[in-house]
């Protein structure tokens, strides 16, 4: 609902009282969800320029040039509120929305990624919804993505009890096209405005406003939309075909705020006025009021602006696919959105006014809990490291996510070279050009230190992409927080944005797309600050593609120093010290140096694999390597560069900028790492006996058969399927 201040502002700008329809339209467009009124001031300063950036954040999707006139489009969206009340439909329509953003640029979607957040699965509390949410969100994404034939190639799942009775569902999509085919988004006087796809119905009324408040007990399921992936698939094919036939002057998908937001944003984008007749809109039921038609969020709808001369070709294509469409108006004038119904003008508003909601200047204050968290940890001495490692591997935050990935068709399209579950996924553009992508987040780190937590997400996402042999070329960010009206939460948001600005400026990697989602709260509590970062990397040569599979004969190195940084780690969290300790920091200079060293090693063809050390630290990383290669690994922990006072800290610290790499040419690896002045050390080797053997000098610390590691690592299957 509009605040009193906003109402006064609106009336002053209009020079008259708005009518009820106009208020509904403004209410949707000025919702936090559509207007970014609390965040615009800060996200505007994210670095978004670069030589590859064709279109930066702001349009439906960002566009990056990757050579030979090829472009990739990328976008990220969330569907948190709807998924929390109706996980299947909420998650599915989240996929639909982001896919339409990709086709809105005239590009074909080639990959989906998702980052999901739930409360812990092994909650003793029988009333926990976590498993139900997790199961149905994954099924929603799977049923939608699989049906439209776009592979879900990578993702990330995190479990933390701040998401109790709630969930975060972030979906990112990548599109591929030719630079010349990118929709220019222009309009000429007299162009036709066509609404195509699903008939407009009473589903999803006021969804945008629903997403812009706290989730209360009265779960509002009617605000959740109904998914139809088959129609989406037809829209993809028809839009790509129409775009190739040069039929389309401008496209926009209908998302939050329905027709109202779509038309006003589109009219603003093409800098032209629209005359629209709501009676022409094809609807699901006969008795819809103009207000309902304007703000319905029925899915799988797109608006196209078509030159009159091209209309017959456009119709031919849409008829072939059996897609319903209606010509709802024409381009006329410069700024006004003029809505007609049954011969009368029922709303007439300046688009400029609609899309520029008055910004909110929110107060910001450092949260009190940050002053109370203890920097030091006083933990009991550990005797049995084996059981700690097995426990960590069975933690769903670290363990195998095949239960998720195998429900997604991750191979359709014949592009998925490195499949989900590895450091980052690699998709084929053509036989000598590949894109590497990864989403990363860490709510625990971001809660204890929103600045370094966010910096860590950026560092990790880039490192994962580097591990596959790719150079990071673009960042997408999805900033998810509680209510911006709470100064302490707003402070964490601002710190998070600062981190992205600092990182991207230093690394010279642009932000090409992003989104802000506030009000992620239930009645019991706000979520932890949960920025999700996506990195897009480019691999320019087929021989650079690097997998994460150690083989017999590899000498193992660690690159980067391990610090006593236990704050927010899975290790300390699992034993009840969730609010203690120093969060891992990122030294940008070292981060950049280590990334470039690993890329150089890969480009020289010197390494067999590179693996990022993140959640669960060196211990989990080495176990993952042993499992993925089904090989034994022998490591002398004493050789690892570190300042840790205890073996468990060394094993499970989550310090950034570290890689474990394996090579069959160890001398050349050393030579290059020395020349780049990296901190590194040779730490061990791959063995034929299938045992993970970690010792400190001669003292045995961990000694476990790979089968036992794998068994713990697959715990999620037992939890979800009981098998």
């Amino acid at each position: 609902m509009l605040t009193r201040k906003e109402e006064t502002y609106l009336q002053k700008k209009l020079g008259r009282k708005p009518n009820l329809l106009e208020i509904d339209m403004i209410d949707a467009e000025w919702s936090e969800h559509c207007s970014y009124k609390s965040s615009k001031k800060y996200v505007r300063s994210l670095p978004s320029h670069g030589k590859r950036v064709v279109v930066g954040p702001g349009y439906d999707a960002g566009v990056l040039e990757i050579g030979d006139d090829d472009v990739i489009t990328v976008h990220i969206e969330s569907h948190n509120h709807p998924s929390a009340v109706e996980p299947y439909g909420g998650a599915a329509t989240g996929v639909g929305g982001v896919i339409r953003d990709i086709i809105s640029m005239g590009t074909r979607p080639i990959a989906l990624l998702d980052a999901l957040r739930f409360s812990s699965l092994n909650d003793e509390n029988k009333t926990s919804k976590s498993k139900w949410l997790f199961k149905n969100v994954v099924k929603g994404i799977a049923d939608y993505g699989n049906c439209i034939g776009v592979p879900t190639v990578a993702g990330e799942v995190e479990f933390d009890d701040s998401f109790k009775d709630y969930c975060l569902v972030d979906v990112a999509a990548i599109g591929l096209g030719k630079r010349a085919q990118i929709i220019s988004n222009h309009a000429d006087e007299g162009d036709q405005i066509v609404l195509a796809g699903n008939p407009t119905g009473k589903d999803g009324i006021r969804g945008a406003s629903f997403a812009s408040k706290l989730l209360d007990d009265e779960e509002d399921r009617s605000a959740v939309q109904i998914p139809d992936p088959f129609l989406e698939k037809l829209l993809i094919e028809a839009t790509v075909e129409a775009s190739k036939s040069n039929c389309i002057n401008a496209i926009k998908d209908l998302g939050g705020g329905g027709l109202s937001c779509c038309l006003s944003e589109m009219s603003h984008l093409v800098e032209k006025g629209f005359e629209v007749d709501l009676a022409a809109v094809h609807t699901k039921v006969a008795d819809m009021s103009p207000n309902e038609i304007m703000i319905s969020e029925s899915q799988e709808r797109m608006v196209y602006i078509i030159n009159r001369k091209k209309l017959s070709r456009f119709k031919e294509i849409f008829n072939k696919y059996g897609i319903t469409y209606s010509i709802i108006g024409k381009v006329h004038g410069h700024d006004n959105l003029n809505i007609h119904f049954q011969g009368k003008s029922i709303a007439n508003i300046s688009c400029d006014l609609m899309v520029n909601a008055p910004l909110c200047y929110r107060k910001s204050k450092k949260p009190g809990y940050l002053n109370r968290t203890k920097k030091g940890i006083e933990m009991y001495k550990v005797k049995d490291y084996n059981s700690i490692l097995l426990d960590l591997l069975s933690n769903p935050n670290i363990g195998n996510k095949d239960w998720v990935f195998q429900q997604y068709d991750h191979e359709v399209g014949l592009r998925t070279v490195i499949k989900p579950g590895a450091n980052a996924s690699v998709i084929r553009v053509n036989d000598n050009k590949f894109v590497s992508i990864k989403l990363d987040g860490n709510s625990k780190h971001c809660y204890l230190d929103p600045y370094f937590g966010t910096l860590g997400c950026l560092s990790e996402a880039c490192r994962n992409v580097v591990c596959t042999g790719a150079e990071p070329i673009g960042i997408i960010d999805h900033l998810q927080f509680g209510s911006p009206e709470n100064p302490q939460i707003y402070w964490t948001f601002r710190k998070s944005v600062e981190a992205i600005i600092d990182f991207c400026n230093y690394m010279k990697v642009p932000v090409v797309g992003g989104k802000v989602s506030f009000y992620n709260e239930t009645m019991s509590s706000p979520i932890k600050p949960s920025p999700v970062i996506g990195t897009i990397g480019l691999i320019k040569d087929r021989s650079h593609i690097t997998k994460c599979v150690p083989t017999f004969g590899d000498t193992l190195f660690i690159l980067g120093k391990t610090y006593e940084e236990l704050g927010g780690t899975e290790y300390t969290d699992s034993i009840g010290y969730s609010e203690y300790g120093n969060v891992p920091k990122v030294d940008l200079e070292i981060d950049r140096k280590n990334n470039s060293a690993v890329l150089a090693l890969i480009q020289h063809g010197l390494i067999d694999f590179a693996h990022d050390c993140s959640k669960g630290g060196i211990g989990a990383a080495l176990a993952e390597l042993a499992i993925s290669g089904n090989v034994g690994i022998d490591i002398d922990l004493e050789k690892i560069p570190n300042n840790c006072s205890r073996h468990d800290y060394l094993l499970f610290s989550e310090s950034h900028s570290r890689f474990i790499i394996g090579s069959k040419q160890p001398d050349r690896v050393k030579e290059i790492l020395r020349s780049k002045r990296c901190i590194f050390s040779e730490i061990g080797e791959v063995q034929t006996t299938k045992i993970l053997n970690l010792h400190y000098s001669r003292k045995e610390i961990i000694n476990l058969p790979v089968n036992d590691l794998a068994c713990s690592y697959n715990t999620i299957n037992h939890i979800m399927d009981g098998t």
Binding site: K139, A142, D143, N146, C147, I148, G149, D228, P229, F230, L231, K233, L234, K320, Y321, G322, D402, F405, Q406, Q407, Y408, D409, H410, E411, V412, G413, L414, T416, V417, K419, R428, D431, R542, K547, V549, D721
Partner: protein, 230 residues
């Protein structure tokens, strides 16, 4: 030699099959929209995977009513090689060109993963380059791939050598006797649940080893070359 790839609304592997046939195997293939009534130009047909009509009602059941199916049935009768992959297999079963039924996976979940299958019949246009009991590494990606058939008809399948591939080592969906692919009595119509087009380029296989699943298409090419010459 020209192949037709039959495209229904909601098919989504047609471009993959097109790429593999034209660019990897070296057979000229083109799309055939499901509204076409005449398919006389083609030496063989492939019905690709996907979700024709969104799998509504039951996978393949609506596509089986498309105008082109009448023409396909006639061609099947005449002996034209016809291969249904995944959703294509489901359509062929729904159209009555192949026996049995494909129902929801026993775990009621979609399953996308690589596994092994074994060749049991090398006398079809799609398997003539294999040796009996060859093992093939290949991915599946389906939610309704559990092949079921009555006991008497199962007996017939074995009698007539219609079981072409079986899953090896694990049954991914609960199929009767681990059956992954069957053909009609004449052997010219085959349906299989796994996706050979996804295993025809070494770069796409998980261990980057050359999978021999491409032999399915090469067998077809081989069959057609000798057939056309004669």
């Amino acid at each position: 030699m020209k192949l037709g790839i039959v495209v229904f609304p909601g098919s989504n592997c047609e471009r993959d099959v097109h790429h593999v046939l034209n660019d990897v195997i070296g057979i000229s293939a083109q799309y055939v929209w499901h509204m076409e009534k005449s398919i006389d130009d083609y030496d063989a047909l492939i019905l690709p995977g996907g979700f024709s009509y969104g799998d509504r009602l039951r996978a393949g059941v609506i596509a089986a009513q498309s105008p082109i199916l009448e023409a396909i049935k006639k061609k099947a009768e005449e002996g034209l090689p016809i291969l249904g992959i995944c959703n294509g297999f489901q359509i062929l079963v729904e159209a009555g060109l192949l026996p049995g039924a494909l129902i929801k996976n026993v775990k009621l979940k979609f399953s996308c993963k690589w596994l092994e299958m074994e060749v049991l019949n090398v006398n079809t246009p799609f398997t003539n380059l294999f040796r009996l009991h060859d093992k093939i590494s290949i991915p599946i990606a389906h939610g309704e791939g559990r092949f079921v058939i009555g006991d008497d008809k199962l007996h017939d399948l074995y009698e007539n050598n219609q079981v072409v591939f079986k899953y090896k080592y694990q049954n991914p969906n609960g199929s009767t006797e681990m059956i992954a692919a069957i053909c009609n009595e004449k052997g010219n119509v085959m349906g299989l649940m796994p996706h050979p087009e996804r295993a025809s380029e070494p770069i796409l296989s998980p261990d980057q080893k050359k999978s021999n699943a491409g032999l399915i298409f090469l067998s077809l090419k081989n069959f057609l070359s000798s057939y056309i010459k004669n």
